[in-house]
């Protein structure tokens, strides 16, 4: 086992990881179930987390190499009592059917809205291009992201603040 120091959702943790374990497996066995196993090869995006602020496929990251880094999962964004505006927009726009791609989509959207408050449709499509969805045909997901962007702008908040 390899000891690492890692920050997960703002909490500093000292964890022992198996040498060949992926960050996805580490997160899930540490109780963070929102990133999902969908393909294990970096193609579907169900495992998306933010690594030092960047959305990545956590199934492709070796947990041992995440030493000293910051990981953010969907659990940090909001909860059932106070969902984050992006979560609320996804609910309101009908962007969620089975919900399996949703954690990845929301984090990819957050990473976009953190940098661009008024993204074009092209920019939205590109930001989500690593997240596959088989239920919605994507259209209502784009609506959800646009709605979130609009609401965040209107409230004068950036996506960064809770």
């Amino acid at each position: 086992m390899i000891p690492i120091s890692i920050s997960i959702n703002g909490l500093k943790k000292s964890l022992e990881v198996r040498p060949a374990e992926s960050l996805l497996d580490l997160l899930r066995r540490s109780g963070y179930k929102s990133p999902k196993f969908g393909c294990g090869e970096g193609a579907c995006g169900a495992c998306t987390v933010l690594l030092d602020g960047r959305p990545v496929n956590s199934c492709l990251v070796l947990a041992a190499t995440a030493d000293g880094r910051e990981v953010v999962t969907l659990e940090s964004l909001g909860d059932q009592q106070r969902p984050h505006p992006i979560q609320q927009a996804f609910m309101d726009a009908g962007a969620i059917q089975c919900g399996f791609c949703t954690p990845g989509m929301i984090l990819a959207a957050k990473a976009l809205l953190d940098r661009k408050a008024n993204p074009t449709e092209d920019e939205i499509r590109r930001a989500l291009d690593g997240n596959l969805c088989r239920c919605t045909g994507y259209e209502q997901i784009f609506s959800g992201v646009k709605m979130a962007a609009q609401r965040l702008r209107a409230s004068g908040k950036s996506a960064k603040k809770k």
Partner: protein, 775 residues
């Protein structure tokens, strides 16, 4: 057209599980971990067809972390079908949980149970199997011919209802349904179309891989938590396979990450059951993505032959449709998918000479099963394309040919009598059927006539337009059953316990809306719990587009019973008689205006006087399967140097009765049509010459991503189905059927080349251009 004002139905009410899913709650099967849980890994066959001469598991058993290794010798030999269908299943009992023969690359050979996934996987490599390789049957066209390898030569495979089944010649099923005299009418027709088409095998690709978890509850009952569309069928079939009574099994469906039919089979559940019964411990198995591609289920590939005979005025006199269906290594869903090929095509037409026949055959290829569209997808390709070809020959608009020949709402449909899913449907009359309206509205909104009349392009990039009609059904008449249980709480809220399975399509929400509408409360006042065989009443599950229509009927019936009880209690509280009160806006109101709220009724009934639990449980079957219908129109542009097809615009005009939840309805038809486009344009299984799938991954098996531009417009055409809850029909499947025929027709319009098989990949299109030349 009826105009109804609803308060909960027809509203885009937020999904009841939305907040759980939006906040990433651990609600899918793989999110559950139980202390002491073990992991299972399945050893799969590297050969398409072989006998297992010996399996040595001693080394594997001794490896660190391994608690059990299970092979065909360790389980009783019991034939089952894995098809999630009502009993008695119209699919052959040809599957043994572990067998001493393997029938496709990826077939189950053995199961390792260990304390970690890694340990289980390492032990897989230590199992020594000696195979006697047999000649594989990889071409369905050869399956029924003399001398073909026999996929199921075992003595104990059989069907349990009297349907044709000849495994010795690889025949899984036969369908023969006819009205009138097709051969005579065809020969006598002035215009005759005779073509062969092909539908390819493809994958559902739900983003959640199959996952099942089994454990013994404190009383030793086997409990299975599974990513399944059919918990009740799982319970029955696992009990059978494990040779234990049904009462000793409980099945729970949590949230599912999509199914689309791939989870309408009993895929992993017998394996976790066997592992838990053997070790006494909780065991979880989760498929890898590769296993999902190879060893879950696929769409049935088919070769279809269509003959249409018509008069010069466009009247169709004869339709003769034949399908040779490739059901892969096992026969689950073989007969029923084939029946639907005829049901979702011929039923559209007011033609008195029609015949549908089908042969369903085994091959040593992956196991085909249920897949959204379920034969309708395969059948509409030859049908819509033959209509298009007929229209071209007649110099007519195919929309006009269709309008001339489709049935009207309320029409009698005698061929339905011949085409039941393994049983006779006794009610050959269609209720609501607004396909004509879909055709007219769609044609107009798309600018179809103008685009059809456009002069052909002649340069490198050539545009074309094509269209297709389609229908599906709403549940299986006489066979499907749904039920619901509702009880009232002190605060005027209700528990709605449903057998119906929400697999992501939002049925929990839609059914809550129906209950809320009947009980005059907000959807928020309905607490849904579903798909637990101990706690929710029976429902066949999420397939055949049955949930909104049939489970909806059961919910409405149950809510009406509860409403009766509420009125009885309310009347007692208001000291009047039940026939003098009504339920409105969550109040029981007397004829003199006095009222009590539902909260008061709830409290009174539970605590105050003549206490009893206001509750009801009702079921529904149906004598009909009202078809949702649609018309799709597409404009494409073909790059004649590379063969690439670009979709310039796509319009779908859909009618499904009352959309109980318009947002979810929209989501269903969008998801379905994008899946259909993906199937038509880019999805492909690539096999090698020994039956091994070469692209079991997303790198080489493509589906569309967010950057793929598919400009799709959706129009809901109003309709109302009298037999449906608040006028609703189901809508989950129908729109997956449109893209393939519409695009094939558009290719013809653009290039003068008919393409008879998809996917219409660039190379395939370029090849057709090279071989046939453009016109």
């Amino acid at each position: 057209m009826k105009r109804k004002i609803f308060s909960e139905v027809s509203k885009g009410v937020r999904k009841v599980d939305a907040v759980a899913l939006a906040t990433g709650q651990p609600v899918y099967t793989d999110d559950f971990d139980i202390p002491g849980m073990l992991h299972g890994k399945i050893l799969r066959s590297p050969l398409a067809h072989a006998r297992i001469k010996s399996i040595r598991t001693t080394k594997a058993r001794r490896m660190p972390g391994v608690e059990a290794v299970i092979t065909w010798r360790d389980v009783p030999r019991i034939a089952v079908t894995t098809a999630g269908q009502g009993y008695p299943e119209p699919s052959p009992y040809d599957k043994f949980i572990f067998d001493n023969k393997v029938r496709f690359v990826g077939d189950e050979v053995a199961l390792v149970v260990a304390d970690t996934e890694e340990a289980a996987e390492r032990a897989l490599g230590a199992i020594e199997v000696e195979y006697e390789e047999l000649e594989p049957l990889l071409d369905v066209r050869k399956a029924l011919k003399k001398g073909a390898p026999v996929v199921h030569d075992e003595k104990d495979c059989r069907v349990i209802i009297p349907i044709p089944y000849e495994p010795r010649r690889n025949l899984v099923a036969r369908v023969d349904a006819a009205i009138g005299n097709v051969d005579k009418a065809y020969k006598a027709s002035e215009i005759r179309i005779d073509r062969e088409y092909e539908n390819h095998i493809s994958a559902h690709s739900a983003i959640e891989p199959h996952c099942s978890l089994a454990y013994l509850d404190p009383n030793g009952r086997l409990t299975i938590v599974s990513s399944t569309q059919v918990p009740y069928h799982v319970r029955r079939i696992v009990a059978r396979a494990m040779d234990i009574p049904v009462k000793r099994v409980r099945v729970i469906k949590p949230r599912l990450g999509g199914g689309f039919g791939s989870k309408q089979d009993i895929v992993l559940e017998p394996y976790v059951a066997a592992a838990t019964l053997k070790t006494g411990k909780p065991v979880k198995i989760r498929m890898t993505r590769e296993e999902v591609f190879v060893s879950s289920r696929t769409r049935h590939g088919m070769v279809t032959n269509i003959k249409i005979g018509a008069g010069r005025d466009g009247t169709i006199n004869a339709i003769d449709l034949h399908a040779l269906s490739n059901t892969g290594a096992y026969g689950n869903h073989g007969l029923t998918v084939a029946c639907n090929v005829g049901m979702r095509t011929l039923v559209m037409f007011a033609c008195s000479n029609m015949r549908f026949t089908s042969d369903v055959a085994y091959t040593n290829l992956p196991n085909a099963g249920a897949y959204r569209g379920y034969g309708g997808t395969q059948g509409i390709l030859p049908t819509a394309c033959a209509i298009d070809e007929l229209a071209v020959k007649l110099g007519m608009d195919p929309v006009d040919v269709l309008l001339k020949n489709i049935i009207a709402p309320g029409a009698e449909v005698p061929i339905l009598n011949e085409l039941g899913e393994g049983a006779t449907t006794g009610a050959p009359r269609i209720g609501s059927f607004e396909l004509a309206a879909c055709l007219r509205v769609g044609s107009r909104e798309f600018g179809w006539k103008r685009k059809l009349a456009r002069k052909k392009d002649s340069g490198r990039y050539r545009r074309g337009v094509g269209m297709s009609p389609m229908i599906q059904g709403s549940s299986i008449p006489y066979i499907d059953m749904a039920s619901a249980f509702i009880k009232m709480n002190d605060d005027g809220s209700f528990n709605l316990n449903l057998g119906a399975t929400d697999i992501g399509q939002g049925s929990d929400t839609v059914l809550a809306q129906i209950a809320a509408e009947t009980l005059t409360v907000a959807t928020d006042d309905i607490i849904v719990y579903a798909s637990d065989t101990d706690l929710t009443p029976f429902d066949v599950g999420a397939y055949a587009s049955s949930t909104t229509y049939l489970s909806g009927r059961a919910v409405k019936k149950t809510a009406e019973k509860v409403k009766e009880l509420i009125l009885k209690v309310g009347a007692e509280m208001l000291e009047t008689s039940p026939d003098r009160v009504r339920l409105e806006k969550a109040k029981v109101i007397g004829s003199d205006g006095a009222s009590v709220t539902l909260k008061q009724v709830g409290t009174y009934s539970l605590y105050e006087k003549h206490q009893f639990q206001i509750a009801a449980c009702e079921s529904s079957t149906s004598e009909e399967s009202p078809p949702p219908t649609a018309a799709h129109f597409v404009e494409i542009e073909v790059d004649t140097l590379t063969g690439r097809i670009k979709v310039l615009s796509y319009l779908q005009a859909v009618e499904c009765g009352t959309p109980i939840n318009p947002a979810l309805c929209h989501g269903q038809v969008m998801g379905a049509v994008v899946n259909g486009l993906s199937y038509a344009l880019v999805e492909r299984f690539i096999f090698n010459s020994r039956g091994k799938l070469l692209n079991p991954n997303y790198d080489y098996f493509k589906i569309f991503c967010s950057r793929d531009r598919l400009p799709i417009k959706t129009i809901f055409v109003p309709s109302y189905e009298e037999t449906g809850p608040y006028g609703a029909k189901s809508v989950g499947e129908v729109c997956i059927n449109g893209p393939m025929p519409a695009i094939s027709n558009a290719i013809y319009n653009a290039l003068g080349i008919r393409m008879f098989s998809a996917p219409f990949t660039p190379e395939k299109v370029l090849d057709a251009i090279a071989k046939q030349g453009m016109k």
